[in-house]
Structures are given as C-alpha cells and as structure tokens.
C-alpha cells in the first residue's frame, strides 16, 4: 500500500485537510499553499529567526513598561484617578468576580508574556548558536497553543471603546503604558508575519539530531 509513496520525511500533510504534498524548498518571501484547501503551508522569510527573536524581546520589554506605567488618567470635577494595567486586572478582585481577575490578567498580560518567553527560549539559542535549547520542542508547542489566548490586541480595541464610553463624563488622558501597549501589539503582529511554523519545526528537527 505504501510502497509508491516517497520517504516519509520528504512529505508534508496539510494540517487542515490531510492532503499529502512533496516537501519542496520554498524561496524566502514566497508562500506554498495546500493544493486542495489553499491553507498556507510554508511562508519562509529571510533572516526570520533573528527578526522573531529581536521583535519578541522588544515586545517583552514593552510589556514590562505597559504593566507598571500609568495607563489612563481620568479627571472630572477636580477629582483625578489614574490606573495602570495592574489596576485594571485587579478591578475584578472583589467577591464573585474574583475568577475574572485571573482570566483578564492571564489574557492580557500573563499569556502574551509566557508566549513571548517560550518563543525566545525555543528560537533564541538556535539563532545565537546552532543547536536548540533542551526543551525547545515543548516550548515552541506551548507558544503555538497560546496564540489564540493572547488577547493584547483585543484589549486595545476594548480600551478605545471604554474611552468613548467615559469621554462624555470626564477628561481622559493617555499614559505612557497605553502607548507601550499599542507598540507591543504592533511589534507582536509584525513578529507573527515572520513566523513560519513549519520552517521553524523543520529547522529544529534538523538541528536536534
């Protein structure tokens, strides 16, 4: 049954529809799509590893600034109140809403940060030296699994909506952390455009042997 199939490591199967393809080299900047469902299988970019590591490190530094610097400052009738992202997370820390504290904190700070650290750990050593770190495989798998749960960009849109809602009743000024957060979202998005999952996995596989 399988004798007319080439060696298994020369094949790739589309993760979306299971169609088999011969794994051909794809030039940097080009995309290889699945013939049947058109899912992008590979989209390698030049110097991707260096760029991913640099951008992930930048995002991580911005994250620290975003968490502790003042985020928004609200003033009305001579009263003023500023809050950091840390305060935002703690907004739910009373009564029944306590579990939401963990959820919101996880979605906007902890999971994005863990994802960045996992990526740095998985790809960093491969960029600097040659061999990946010891637990690079689970680290990269963790980074992939966390992708839908890191919601920093959604938080920014939520901030915009919140600003409109209170715009009528008070004056709001944007703090340094707000801009750090916007920059963080942009840097993270840029980093993701350099990320070709399949190329990273293959590179890791080759270098672990």
């Amino acid at each position: 049954m399988t004798q007319d199939i080439p060696e298994l490591d020369r094949l790739i199967a589309c993760p979306n529809c299971d169609a088999l393809h011969l794994d051909m080299p794809v030039p940097d900047g080009a995309r290889a799509r699945c013939l049947r469902c058109h899912t992008v299988l590979k989209a390698p970019r030049a110097d991707a590893m260096t760029r991913i590591v640099m951008l992930a490190a930048t995002a991580l530094i911005l994250m620290v600034a975003a968490v502790f610097f003042p985020f928004l400052d609200l003033s009305t009738h001579g009263l003023s109140h500023d809050s950091s992202i840390f305060d935002t997370v703690m907004a739910f820390s009373e009564g029944l809403l306590f579990p939401l504290t963990f959820a919101v904190g996880a979605l906007i700070v902890v999971l994005p940060a863990v994802r960045l650290i996992a990526l740095l750990y998985a790809i960093g050593p491969m960029m600097i030296g040659y061999t990946p770190a010891r637990h690079a495989i689970p680290a990269f798998r963790l980074a992939q699994a966390l992708k839908p749960w890191a919601m920093a960009e959604i938080f920014i849109v939520g901030t915009a909506v919140a600003l409109v809602k209170i715009g009528g009743m008070a004056t709001v000024s944007l703090g340094a952390a707000f801009w750090a957060f916007v920059a963080l979202v942009l840097v993270t998005t840029l980093k993701d455009t350099f990320m070709c999952k399949l190329t990273v996995w293959k590179t890791m596989e080759e270098r672990i042997r």
Binding site: C14, A19, C37, D87, L100, R141, V157, A162, I166, E205
Partner: protein, 221 residues
Amino acid sequence: MMSATQTAAPDRDDGGARVQTARAAGLVACTGCGRVHRPDQTRCLRCNARLSSRDATSLQRVWAWWLAGLIAYIPANLYPMLRTTTMGHETASTIVGGVVELIDYHSYGVALIVFGASVVIPIAKFIAIAYLAYSVQFRRGKKGVLARQHLYEVVEFIGRWSMIDVFVVAILSSLVQFNFVASIHPGIAAVSFASSVAFTMLSAQSFDSRMIWDANEAVET
C-alpha cells in the same frame, strides 16, 4: 488510484486539485507540524504532539463546549454587565443596554463594534459551529467543502474578538472610582460572558477540520 502526491509549489493555486490524503495512503499526519508518520506511531517525531488520523472524540468535545457556551451565554445577556453609581444612585446595564446607551450618546460606530462583538459574533458563532459539526456528522456535505473550510477559519479567527466587552468592563471599573460622585463596578454577566466566549473558543478548537474534507474524499477516490 490517483497520482501519489502533489508538490507544494510556491504560489500555485489549482482549485479543487485531486490529492491523496495521509489517511488514504495508510499514514498518519501531525496537525501541529505537518510531518507524516507510519500509522503505528503515537507521538510526532518532530514536535512530539499526540497523533491521530482522525480524532474520534472531536465532535463530542465540540458539542460539549458548544452547549456549555450556550448555557453561559443566557445569563450573560439577562444579568447586568456594568453597575454605575452616580451621586448615590445606581443603574445597571446589560450587554444590549450598553449598546443602547452608546446609541443615545450618538456614538454609532462604537455601538456597532460592541454590538458586533458581543451579540452578532457570539450568535453567528453558535450557528456556524453547529452547522459545521452537523454537516460533518451526517455526511451531508459533498458540496461547498471549500466554503465550509473558510467558514471554519473565520470562526477560529473572529471568535476571540468577543472578549472586547469584558475588557471594556475591566477598564471602566478600574478607572471610574470616585466613590460617591461616580463609580463603576462589574456585574455578574461579565463572568458568564467571558466563560461563554472561552467555551466557544474551545469548541471551535476541538473541531477537526480534516473531517470537512473526508466526505469529499470518498467521492473522488
């Protein structure tokens, strides 16, 4: 028997190409990294993910999370999302109430974003996941396979954006704290809404998209 394999050529787009699947070739593929294995392999040799040709319990998990999400979505709409206290007078607003308030302030664009994220997307997502699971379960669809694949991608991409309203509540209640003059507190609906979004995300993630294509494959072979 069709030709063994196709090549993954850059930027080629032959719609409806006849391909062989890993399952039809008696192999098992990793959905994490695309590596192909002999059927007796249980863990991927490249990324160590658990392998399964088709996830037999996938639909059960899809329906379980779907139902959990639907149940959580009901109190999310009935109970208040925000409790606003101004000069000792408390008003509570639900999700839809919040949208109506925004319309009253003539912030139509923002009202549309909140309405889309908190009402349209969740409901559309319930319908879309149910339709996908139903169509796969009863082998109805040999047509519209590509359309259903796109639908699945859209559901996976857009589902997380429903969280907007939960973040709005978090920001407002941390910011508007002027004791007697004005203060905003989160309502219980924030918890059920956040759970509903998380459950439907898990429902969509449990869905094995390869099943969409299986019915199609049976016709072609």
